[in-house]
């Protein structure tokens, strides 16, 4: 026998083309499941490319200057001299949190005040409405106020706003400042004022937490790296930090890259869902092709030739799907700047990224072939004997060991893809394990559902009900694939909703009972008593009076910042940061000692000062009980011994501290106070805040309402992005559903024709079909909701440490919406079967 290894590739392509003739629309339908996933990824990749270019182009305007130096205390002496000698043009900025007061409607709110001088920003501009306000406000007693504040307090340019003791005219609305995002504006809305009014505001007092920034512009081209290299030792020595255009670019790029990786992975999940849809559809397609494959095998086609014919076909259609997906992605990209506008500090452009398009096409091609391999490999085992005896090797198809190799390839591909996004093999493996677990759990649920329906469904029910339900587990059913895809999408959305509710509930709960709901801080010693009197006039209880002393760490176990070795587990930053410390003789309700012994009074310990450290801080710095720490309190050195570690519940609206001193040490040190009170209603809170701002303009206030409002805004902004991405999974699920319905149409036609021939009315067949899809949708939605409930309960129990009570109404709405949508899609796609005479359908389909 002469051996021939020729594959006759041109003929294989010709056969793949010919064989696809009557199936092209079906094949396109299979591949439609991945179009959306590819679209999502191409959109995100394009965005990534464009934003990286935008960051490069707009890097200077992100910082607004060539160099920025930051200090957290007033600079004097030689440091000031050094700072004044840098750059050709200079600007200063002092920023701090403060209350502002809108006289027009008596509104008050904690904001970020930035007092600036000079021409900053040197690159880009303060975007304001009217446009000239960003420059003009510096020449008069005027302010520009963030858009969110203007909207919240219904303020207009020309109105006034009071900051400290000074009333400013609002010159304009601040739309955008260098490096600012919508999210940062939500957390801390900004008001710009001229620096020369800073002193008059009276806000520079003991304990005021002011950030000092110095912006420099170099008119001549300057090697910033060399400059920084020269300056760095001195900057470090004085605890000053710095930013250049290059470092700002890296920072922005890094944070965007994290966001981009997250979005890519969510898009990838949608793509994986689609791929499972593809694998499932091709499985049915190949099953239908068994007779044709057996025939060509009889005619002399080798197994691998037959395999290649269909591989070429799938690769071809995968390529088309990927190209359509890439085109769709380029289109979707146009909407992403709108979706992500609150997260990215640069103006996003939306040009076509050919790199992203190419990546998307290659990914689409590879992944469609990879997932199609699962059903395709079984094709190698189709015996020509099938021409004589159908189902000659049905069992062999299911038991092909090569499928494990394909599973391995798929897992390898997911790990590789996630590694490329996350750049960490550990996180990539974690992501892959997470995805596989989610899929396995959903698949297991699907099997459980099918088993339960089969096992427990009452046989006494009418035929129509039994038939509708039996369709869920009959051969070639789509139950698993739909439960996985629609279930995952539903779980996404429901969990997101639950987390949003949980976070808000956690905050609300923390202020329930007799817990404080308002924190007043930056209170000077002289203001304490009058403020308490004012609070009593408003019938508010003083729950806690907390003294705060600022200090630095001078020595740890005898070592200073200068003498501690670089490889020590004790971070050098612990010496440069400022500690806000309190002193008291007892623990608060939110604290408990986890190690060591609490010492409430230094006098009782014969003058030995035992401090208590927050356990997380102690752990990070590798501090042990009995270690010595010398603190510098405004020039006086205070030696202490670490006496205890405390566990602190940071989630309450109250003051918490890394370091707590005993009584009898700091009473005479320069200090300021924080007061905690409880306000019953929003109106009472507003009245009290107005009174405080008018009498004590330097005192800042945070109340529960503000915290909840800010959290709500942040969560809804993040939630919008997640919902947008989850929509890809849900829509993919629906596309898979449409594809599944159409693919299994032939079986349905045969059944429907048989039923109609036996006398079933259109109405009865419609009822069976409606039932089947309603159950599919309902089970998928219920599975997703159940998973979400379990996930949310775990999150509540272990992360948010609260009880979880599901909100049933929204869940019911989601459940019904998904179940009904699935049913209508199922019915819509089956309409052809119902409206035509049986014979006509049989002729068409034969």
């Amino acid at each position: 026998m002469q051996k021939s290894n020729g594959l006759n590739l041109p003929w294989l392509f010709k056969m793949a083309w010919r064989d696809s003739r009557r199936n092209r629309s079906r094949l396109l339908l299979f591949i439609s499941s991945i179009i959306l996933g590819i679209g999502a990824l191409v959109a995100i990749y394009s965005l990534g490319d464009n934003v990286r270019r935008d960051i490069d182009q707009q890097a200077a305007s992100l910082l607004g200057a060539d160099l920025e130096i930051t200090a957290n205390k007033q600079v004097t002496g030689p440091i000031k001299k050094m700072l004044d000698s840098l750059g050709d043009r200079r600007s200063r900025e002092e920023s701090f949190a403060s209350m502002i007061f809108f006289p027009k409607n008596s509104g008050t709110r904690l904001v970020q005040v930035k007092a600036i001088d000079g021409e900053f920003p040197y690159y880009g501009s303060l975007e304001t409405e009217p446009a000239q306000a960003g420059k003009a406000f510096r020449d008069t007693q005027a302010a520009v106020v963030d858009r969110t504040l203007m909207l919240q307090y219904n303020a207009q340019p020309g109105d006034s706003v009071k900051i400290g003791k000074v009333t400013f005219v609002i010159a304009g609305t601040l739309l955008k400042a260098p490096g600012q995002t919508g999210l940062s504006a939500s957390v801390a809305p900004t008001v710009y004022i001229p620096l020369r009014f800073m002193k008059q505001t009276g806000l520079q007092q003991t304990g005021s937490r002011i950030n000092y920034k110095f912006y420099y512009k170099y008119d001549q081209a300057t090697n910033m790296n060399a400059l920084i290299e020269r300056l760095e030792p001195r900057l470090n020595h004085y605890s000053l930090s710095f930013d250049t255009i290059e470092s700002q670019k890296e920072d922005t790029g890094r944070s965007f890259s994290d966001l981009n990786s997250f979005l890519s992975l969510v898009g990838f999940i949608a793509l994986l869902l689609g791929c499972i849809g593809v694998a499932s559809a091709i499985h049915i397609y190949i099953k239908e092709k068994i007779p044709s494959i057996a025939v060509i095998r009889c005619l002399g086609v080798k197994a691998r030739q037959a395999f290649l014919i269909y591989l070429i076909q799938i690769a071809g259609i995968g390529l088309i799907g990927a190209v359509i997906g890439a085109a769709l992605g380029t289109l979707i990209q146009q909407f992403l700047p709108f979706v992500l506008r609150d997260f990215i500090a640069v103006d996003i452009t939306t040009g076509i990224s050919w790199r992203a398009v190419t990546q998307g096409i290659i990914l689409g091609l590879v992944i469609s072939v990879l997932f199609a391999l699962l059903p395709l490999i079984s094709l190698r085992r189709i015996s020509p004997l099938n021409t004589l005896r159908i189902s000659a090797n049905d069992n062999q198809l299911a038991r092909d060991p090569a499928k494990w190799l394909v599973y391995l390839l798929i897992v390898g591909f997911i790990v590789a893809f996630s590694y490329l996004q996350l750049k960490s093999i550990e996180r990539a493996l974690f992501f892959t394990a997470g995805v596989i677990t989610a899929f396995l759990v959903l698949t297991a649920m699907a099997y459980l559902v099918m088993w339960t329906v089969r096992r427990f469904f009452p046989v006494s029910w009418s035929y129509l009900w039994r038939q509708g339900l039996a369709n869920l587990y009959r051969p070639n059913n789509q139950t698993i694939i739909l439960l996985v895809s629609i279930g995952l999408g539903t779980a996404f959305i429901c969990t997101l909703f639950a987390v949003q509710t949980l976070v808000l509930k956690r905050v609300t709960l923390s202020a329930s009972g007799n817990q404080p709901t308002m924190v007043l801080f930056d209170i000077q010693k002289t203001q304490k008593e009058p403020l308490i009197t004012l609070a009593r006039q408003h019938a508010l209880p003083i729950i806690q009076e907390v003294p705060i002393v600022n200090m630095r760490l001078e020595q740890y176990n005898g070592k200073t910042a200068a003498t501690i070795s670089g490889d020590s587990s004790f971070s050098r930053r612990a010496f440069t940061r400022e500690y806000r410390v309190t002193y008291r003789d007892s623990l608060t309700e939110s604290e408990k000692i986890t190690k060591g012994e609490w010492h409430g009074s230094a006098t009782a310990d014969n003058g030995t000062v035992y401090v208590s450290l927050e356990q997380g801080f102690a752990r990070r710095q590798h501090i042990s009980i009995g270690d010595t720490m010398v603190f510098n309190v405004q020039g006086s050195l205070v030696p202490t011994i670490v006496g205890s570690f405390r566990e602190v519940d940071w989630n309450r609206i109250q003051t918490n501290f890394l370091v707590v001193f005993p009584k009898g040490v700091l009473e005479q040190a320069p200090q300021f106070f924080v007061l905690l009170t409880r306000v019953a209603t929003e109106q009472a809170s507003a009245r009290f805040q107005q009174a405080v701002v008018q009498n004590f303009p330097n005192i800042s206030i945070i109340d529960l309402g503000l915290v909840i409002k800010t959290l709500d805004e942040i969560l809804s902004k993040i939630g919008f992005v997640i919902r947008f991405m989850a929509a890809f999974s849900i829509i993919t699920g629906l596309v898979v559903l449409i594809a599944s319905v159409l693919i299994s149409k032939y079986q349905r036609i045969q059944e429907s024709v048989l039923l109609r021939t036996l006398g079933a009315s259109r109405k009865q067949i419609l009822f069976i079909t409606a039932l089947e899809y309603f159950f599919l949708g309902a089970l998928a939605a219920a599975t997703g909701i159940l998973l979400s409930l379990i996930g949310s309960w775990l999150l509540a129990e272990y992360l948010f440490k609260t009880s979880y009570t599901p909100e049933w109404l929204p869940l019911l709405v989601i459940f019904l919406a998904i179940a009904l949508l699935t049913m209508f899609i199922g019915l819509f796609n089956s309409r052809g079967i119902l409206s035509k005479p049986p014979l006509e359908i049989l002729r068409q389909e034969s």
């Binding site: 003929w11 060509i296 086609v301 021409t387 004589l388 005896r389």
Partner: protein, 233 residues
């Protein structure tokens, strides 16, 4: 006369539900090149299994099958495919045309597989011989059962096979159409000098071949020449 097919001590067993099922047992016969023969027997007697073994579609559990002096048991799947393409033609009860290919393309496939050139006129000529010259561009679903079987005939002869296996070739056709198809099979067979091995339970049809092997319960119960063979002699 040369032997085109030689079956020696062939048995076929299957494993089913943990039990060994013997479908064919100790089958021995050979077929002269250019002759015609039928395998007849009741349903489940093993005749289709025997056809599958003879045509290299399946492997015997014991014994060997030689086709054109090639021992099929020793070949791998790829080599078996090549044997089928080079020496064998098939006619099936359900026609087994590729639904996505036109009649002409269906006929061309075996030739294309061989990598032959200028095959279109050959395929057209064959379609002409079966009376379907004007239906070459039609898909199987656009043809009647008889027409589909005629295309199947044209395809079976397209690679000039040494041996033609026919599995109930008229099983899906009405009497009148069956008659025409049978005439066509024998006519083309004579013209090409091909060996014909046919599985059928139509004894009238079997009687038109030169030899009938009767099979029952997986074993040959008789192997006799027919009147047609005697007449020919």
């Amino acid at each position: 006369m040369d032997k085109i097919l030689n079956i020696q001590q062939v048995s076929k067993t299957y494993q089913s539900a943990g039990r060994t099922l013997t479908v064919l047992h100790d089958i021995n016969f050979s077929v002269d090149a250019g002759s015609t023969m039928s395998i007849v027997g009741p349903s489940g007697s093993g005749k289709t299994t025997l056809l599958g073994l003879c045509a290299g579609l399946d492997r015997s559990s014991e014994g060997f099958v030689e086709l054109h002096n090639i021992r099929l048991n020793t070949l791998n799947e790829g080599q078996l495919a090549e044997v089928r393409n080079r020496y064998i033609g098939f006619i099936f009860q359900n026609f087994q045309l590729m639904p996505t290919l036109t009649a002409l393309e269906n006929v061309m496939v075996p030739l294309e597989l061989r990598g032959e050139k200028k095959i279109r006129p050959i395929a057209m000529d064959l379609l002409d011989k079966v009376g379907l010259a004007d239906r070459g561009h039609h898909y199987p679903s656009q043809l009647s059962g008889g027409e589909q079987q005629r295309v199947s005939l044209a395809r079976a002869f397209s690679n000039k096979p040494q041996i033609l296996f026919a599995d109930e070739p008229t099983g899906s056709l009405d009497a009148e159409t069956s008659e025409r198809i049978i005439d066509l099979i024998f006519e083309l067979n004579r013209e090409a000098g091909t060996t014909l091995v046919m599985v059928t339970h139509d004894l009238d049809l079997a009687a038109k071949t030169q030899r009938i092997i009767r099979i029952k319960g997986g074993a040959i119960v008789s192997d006799q020449p027919t009147q047609a063979a005697i007449a020919l002699q």
